[in-house]
């Protein structure tokens, strides 16, 4: 942590950055929150540990609009989501200095978050500077997805219908996701009403299907959507199912290569037609 503070001070000093996005521990309450540290501000409150759950990339576009160049503290999962932002030219690499931190996992409600069980990249894949240890990489596991895949179609629908029925359509999942940045979300469009506004099962189903589909090949599995859902819907399940599918179909993992073309717009003449077939065909 000190190493990182020193580097940040150095970067402020030589004028390379004008602000840093990091985590601050409120000395009064002990709460850890996302924060912007400006030049000449003390960095004593800056922390990095298992309480640093927020994905800071969500705040990056606003910050780079305001400051010329910004430093950002990145866990492995957050770094992956930064890669998506770069691939989609939402942010230019020359607007940021990536401060990768080796993450040991974050805690939610006192225990380690589910997403950390399957963590593949403890260190951000984009890092101008690395701090802490880079844990050995694991291949992302899809154990929860595979459990669902063992169920019959009727069982699966029962499982998901129960959750979709609970959805309040608060869109917290959408607001917290760095990859959800459409000027006018399709869910808010009325002509036509692809997704009806009321929070009934059919419309909620449309919402969750579209959300997952729009993130296919782009979701970095930062897990924030699941963390913020007030109904505790297992949001990551759908995203992970498609991450598994995109990997099996097209041999790519989102959030790994910064100038890769997003898989759903890659022009491939070689995809076999069998990818269109169902399991029984």
């Amino acid at each position: 942590m000190n190493e990182m503070r020193n580097k940040i001070e150095e970067l402020f000093k030589n004028g390379e950055i004008d602000a840093v996005l990091g985590y601050r521990e409120d000395p009064a309450t002990g709460e850890v929150k996302a924060a912007v540290f400006k030049k000449d501000e003390a960095l004593d409150d800056m922390v990095f540990d298992g309480r640093c759950v927020q994905n800071l990339v969500n705040y990056l576009p606003t910050l780079v609009a305001r400051y010329r160049k910004v430093g950002i503290v990145l866990k492995g999962c957050d770094g992956r989501s930064l890669v998506t932002q770069l691939v989609e030219h939402r942010i230019n690499k020359n607007q940021i200095v990536a401060l990768g931190v080796g993450c040991e996992g974050v805690k939610l409600d006192g225990k380690e978050a589910d997403k950390c069980d399957d963590c593949a990249t403890s260190m951000s894949p984009i890092a101008d500077y690395e701090f802490g240890e880079k844990k050995h990489k694991k291949e992302p596991a899809f154990s929860k997805v595979e459990e669902i895949e063992k169920m019959s179609p009727a069982e699966r629908w029962k499982f998901f219908a129960d959750y979709f029925a609970r959805c309040e359509r608060c869109y917290a999942c959408r607001q917290i996701c760095p990859s959800c940045y459409c000027e006018i979300c399709v869910a808010d469009q009325q002509e036509p009403k692809w997704i009806e506004p009321s929070a009934k099962l059919s419309a909620n189903t449309m919402w969750h299907l579209i959300r997952a589909y729009h993130l296919a090949g782009r979701c970095a599995d930062c897990g924030e959507c699941e963390r913020v859902c007030p109904q505790e819907i297992p949001m990551r399940l759908l995203n992970n199912a498609l991450e598994k599918a995109v990997h099996e179909l097209f041999d790519v993992r989102p959030g790994t290569v910064p100038d890769e073309i997003p898989p759903l717009v890659v022009l491939s003449k070689e995809d076999p037609d069998t990818i269109l077939e169902g399991k029984n065909e």
Binding site: E155, W194, L201, V246, L276
Partner: protein
Amino acid sequence: MQIEKEPKILAILCKWCSYAGADLAGTSRFAYPANVRIVQVPCSGRVDPIMIFKAFVEGYDGVMVSGCHPGDCHYTTGNYHARRRIAVARRLLEFVGVHPDRMHFTWISAAEGKKFAEVCSRFTDKLKNLSGTEKTLARKELAT
């Protein structure tokens, strides 16, 4: 009105190949079940999976998308993009519990009138086997 006993199929067809193939089925008088509803798009590349999701929510028993054979797309590359999108959409729908037999994605050329009719008939038969299982995703007021 739908013929109540027959499964309802939405077929999204590309204008240059598959829709023409469906027309050829008509010109050649190859009959197929009456509950197939065809929507024309300029290219299979125009097909947004939101249309497929909506079709199931609106109560269709089965959804079919067909375009030009790979390599023959009138717009050269549209069907390659369609192939990827629809493959991912299928995986998602199967994952949440739509039976794989309810989706049929294929390539039908303007010369394949007979194939179009046969595809519709076979698809209808498969869907009949599923009647009795829930029309997954469908709005409660439409679900059987």
